[in-house]
């Protein structure tokens, strides 16, 4: 069976901060992990962190991008290219990444956070999708 051309996204967590443990190797502390945010008014601009763990059968660099889709309209409200492209070292099976994003949510509702990778000889490939709710705070 041919090896996958792009990494697999094993984990995607939306959160407020990520810190590597000072006492345990390859252990990470995540704060404010979330599937939603609340807001008083819209549009809402919000900085979030995406914590990813990728796996790949081969060492390489994998250019990719983040897309956020408004589920009610199917329109993308955010595109962001990962820079520099994640680089998989030859001596590792897993690669943890922290990606800061600053997204303008036009309205309350459900959004889809997607992780895409470019491929040289085929279509871009969606490797992870997660829902994220933006809720209007009740008065």
């Amino acid at each position: 069976m041919p090896a996958a051309l792009t990494p697999r996204v094993r984990t995607l967590v939306v959160c407020d901060s990520v810190r590597a443990s000072k006492v345990e190797e390859s252990v990470f502390h995540l704060r404010g992990t979330r599937y939603h945010i609340r807001a008083d008014s819209f549009p809402l601009r919000r900085r979030l962190l995406l914590f990813l763990i990728l796996s790949s059968p081969r060492p390489d660099r994998f250019p990719g991008y983040i897309k956020v889709i408004d589920d009610s309209t199917d329109r993308a409200i955010y595109y962001g290219q990962i820079e520099p492209p994640p680089r998989f070292p030859s001596d590792s099976d897993l690669l943890p990444l922290v990606l800061p994003v600053n997204i303008r949510f036009p309205q309350a509702g459900r959004y889809l956070v997607q992780i895409w990778f470019f491929q040289e000889t085929a279509a871009d490939i969606l490797k992870m999708e997660q829902t994220f709710d933006v809720l209007e705070r009740e008065a």
């Binding site: 697999r8 995607l12 967590v13 990520v18 983040i66 595109y79 990444l97 994003v101």
Partner: protein, 135 residues
């Protein structure tokens, strides 16, 4: 007896930037690129095998030609590319089609796997790996 697996090696944490693509033309180019690929794929014929594009009907057609064992391998590989939520959806959908006695058998098998995996940070092959992405 369970096979002893090598521990997975974790690379150091990489903090990368995400450069927003705000130019509508650039956004449209990304979408067009994807749409073109999808349209190209839908035109691909199974019989001609002329295109390297892959579509769901093409995959299904090719899978029908495989042995049962090979189909299982393909299903495992494709399942591994799904998100945790999607895997759960697939399992629920498949399980609902099983006769009651097979569902019990499946539940026992899954519980056995869960017990095997308990206390270890398993991110092995699907469906075991579903525990890995819970965050």
């Amino acid at each position: 007896m369970s096979k002893k697996k090598k521990p997975l090696r974790m690379a150091p944490l990489q903090r990368l930037a995400v450069k927003p693509i705000e130019d509508p033309a650039e956004q449209a180019a990304l979408d067009a690129r994807l749409q073109q690929s999808e349209e190209g794929a839908s035109k691909a014929s199974v019989e001609s095998g002329a295109s390297g594009r892959v579509t769901a009907p093409l995959v299904l057609e090719l899978c029908r030609r495989l042995s049962a064992k090979a189909r299982l391998t393909v299903a495992s590989e494709l399942g591994g590319q799904l998100s945790v939520e999607q895997r759960i959806e697939v399992i629920q959908s498949l399980a609902s089609e099983l006769p009651a006695e097979f569902r019990t058998h499946l539940a026992e098998g899954l519980l056995g796997r869960l017990e095997d995996a308990r206390g270890t940070e398993s991110i092995g092959c699907w469906p075991k790996g579903s525990s890995a992405a819970r965050g």
